[in-house]
């Protein structure tokens, strides 16, 4: 018997420029998390930065590439030990308006046996980016913090977490 799932867990929309947005006490009742973000920054060419469970150590890795549709420029980034998941869709032209959006899939986030893999796609006007990343920790994910590499998150940026529970 199929059962309804894919529920919004929490939403935050910034009402002023803020240095970070945090979701804490995330429900452990789901299998995967999907985070939908539509954001801007107060400083141009700055992508979003995500840390898990307040972990600021060099416990993340990622592989990402991006392509600019205007210039055909492309690039990649593959830090093997870094302090968070960097969203580089803003690299080419992220302005101080809200023109960045992304969908982040955090897979099997509540398991306590394995590291956590995430996969995402993001856009920033002309730039398209895909990213696969890993948090090197077996703990269940209970909080997420978003910030900007330099500057603040722009007013009106929105962050929504959805949960999907497998049968």
């Amino acid at each position: 018997m199929a059962s309804l799932t894919y529920f919004p867990i929490a939403t935050q929309t910034t009402t002023s420029t803020v240095s970070s947005v945090t979701f804490s006490s995330i429900s452990q009742a789901y299998t995967d998390l999907i985070i939908v973000v539509n954001n801007g920054s107060t400083v141009s060419a700055q992508g979003l930065f995500m840390q898990i469970n307040g972990d600021t150590g060099s416990n993340y890795s990622l592989t990402t590439t991006w392509l600019n549709g205007n210039t055909s420029a492309q690039g990649n980034f593959q830090p093997t030990s870094t302090t968070g998941i960097s969203q580089f869709s803003g690299l080419a032209q992220n302005a101080t308006t809200i023109i960045e959006a992304m969908v982040i899939n955090l897979m099997n986030y509540s398991n306590t046996t394995n590291y956590k893999t995430l996969i995402q796609r993001s856009v920033c006007d002309a730039t398209l980016q895909y990213l696969v990343g890993n948090w090197h920790n077996n703990n269940a994910i209970t909080s997420l913090t978003f910030s900007i590499g330099s500057g603040n998150i722009q007013t009106g940026s929105s962050f929504t977490i959805y949960g999907i529970k497998a049968a």
Binding site: S3, L4, I9, V21, T22, S25, T80, I119, K165, A166
Partner: protein, 178 residues
């Protein structure tokens, strides 16, 4: 949820159903070389399969048990090098490649959608995003399409792993979208 300073607490929503996404079945495939979703309900419009797994760097989906040369797939791959494209025609399966072998530590993931799967008037198209990052230069993702050149409704999906067996703690879940 804990409200954050600067954020209206009223904007923190509860468990509001989106209303069109259903869990159908989950397989824990550890130790098996191939698993299948069978008797897939025909009551949805689209299907999604979400995989978190260990083992080989590729899963090779087949539809309705069809092992003939009736599939094609195209994709682009992002790794530590430049973007690259790949394709194959007239294959005997689709292909979900995670670029690198997911170890017991670093899971490979797949999110695949099958569109209009009950329609009997057109070939069946899917898209998928896959990836695995192993905290080294061994990391990458694929974005791909897959086509099954058959107009039959999809009633089963078989998911052999490329080599060996699925690792411990692997999971494969099927969802239906109205």
């Amino acid at each position: 949820m804990s409200p954050i300073l600067g954020i209206y607490a009223s904007q923190i929503s509860g468990h509001l159903a989106t209303g069109n996404f259903y869990s159908i079945a989950t397989i824990n495939p550890a130790g098996q070389s191939s698993v299948s979703f069978t008797s897939i309900p025909q009551t949805f419009t689209h299907l999604q399969i979400r995989v978190n797994y260990f083992g080989s760097d590729v899963i090779i989906p087949r539809i309705n048990g069809d092992t003939g040369s009736n599939y094609s797939a195209h994709g682009w791959r992002g790794t530590s090098g430049a973007l690259s494209g790949w394709n194959f025609y007239n294959g005997s399966n689709m292909q979900w490649s995670t670029s690198w072998v997911p170890t017991s530590t670093y899971a490979g993931v797949v999110i695949a959608d099958f569109f209009d799967y009950t329609n009997t008037n057109k070939y069946k198209l899917s898209k998928a995003i896959t990836g695995c990052d192993r905290a080294s230069t061994s990391g990458g993702y694929d974005v791909m399409s897959g086509l099954w050149r058959n107009t039959s409704a999809i009633t089963s999906i078989t998911l052999p792993i490329g080599s060996g067996t699925y690792g411990t703690n692997s999971s494969i879940s099927l969802y239906g979208v109205i």
